[in-house]
Amino acid sequence: MADLLDSPYLILVLLILGALGFALVPLGLAALWARCFSPAKPGLIKNATYECGLESKGDAWVQFHVQYYLYAIIFLIFDVETIFLLPFAVSFLQLPPGAFVAMMIFLLLLVEGLVWAWQKGVLRWK
């Protein structure tokens, strides 16, 4: 017993006990209060996932139609086109004829893609 009291780790044990008590006593008091005075009333609506007031509908694992992929590709093409067109328009008067021809070929390729997509009926949403 005397060894135990002389141990340098005794103070650590005491500190740990104090820390545990400091954390657990308020938690215990809160739990006791809840037991005595505030009955838990869970319910279907109360435990619902969403908190925005609206009911969630359907499943979260929605599958998108594969057609959406083509729409996204076409959008991306014209998105990139806009990025190129803007500096082209700004520096139009300073450009050599070669650059103009190159840009026209680029636009032609995009328009060709659009015509192809149109003919395939991609733009018609079913």
Binding site: P39, G43, I45, K46, E55
Partner: protein, 202 residues
Amino acid sequence: MDEGLRSELQKQGIFTTTLEEIYNWGRKNSVWPLGFGLACCAIEMIAASMSRWDLARFGAEVFRPSPRQADLMIVAGTVTKKMAPQVVRLYNQMPEPKYVIAMGACAISGGPFKQGYNVLKGIDRYIPVDVHIPGCPPRPEALLHAFITLQRKITEQQLTGPNRPRHLRRDAPSEFPIPEYGAHDLVPPSHPGLWRPPGLVR
């Protein structure tokens, strides 16, 4: 405890309290409202929470964006029949104890839009309202007054006994039925156990 003895002790610098009092004192000074507005009254509610009227003086400046963290629902504005189920659902999702202030003529009775086919004639048809404030819109001072009234109500709530409030009774419901869209009106048009309009006594 005897009131006379209590004030006598207070003069000597000894303050006494009860568990109930200190619990209610803590609750009434940290009411967290749910941050949502339905119409123009919401602007007055926002003004009341800002520095000029400063709702923070009463411990209610913490507007929560989630019903799970809110104690007080300030129904600020016209409740349309489209919106009513959402309001009731949000109320249901708030934890107990929860309070409701119906702010403005619309929230208490439909107000100037009462004749509208799409306007709910008072949110107290579906959820229990603690304080009604008239006005179109009420001034922020009126909201402060309603808030102080609510604080007074919280102070007087008893922890035990037959007169204890709804949230302390195990059998009292926490959720209220949510109305559904019917062919012509919300179904049911009001919560029958909750809404008892005063009848004419001749």
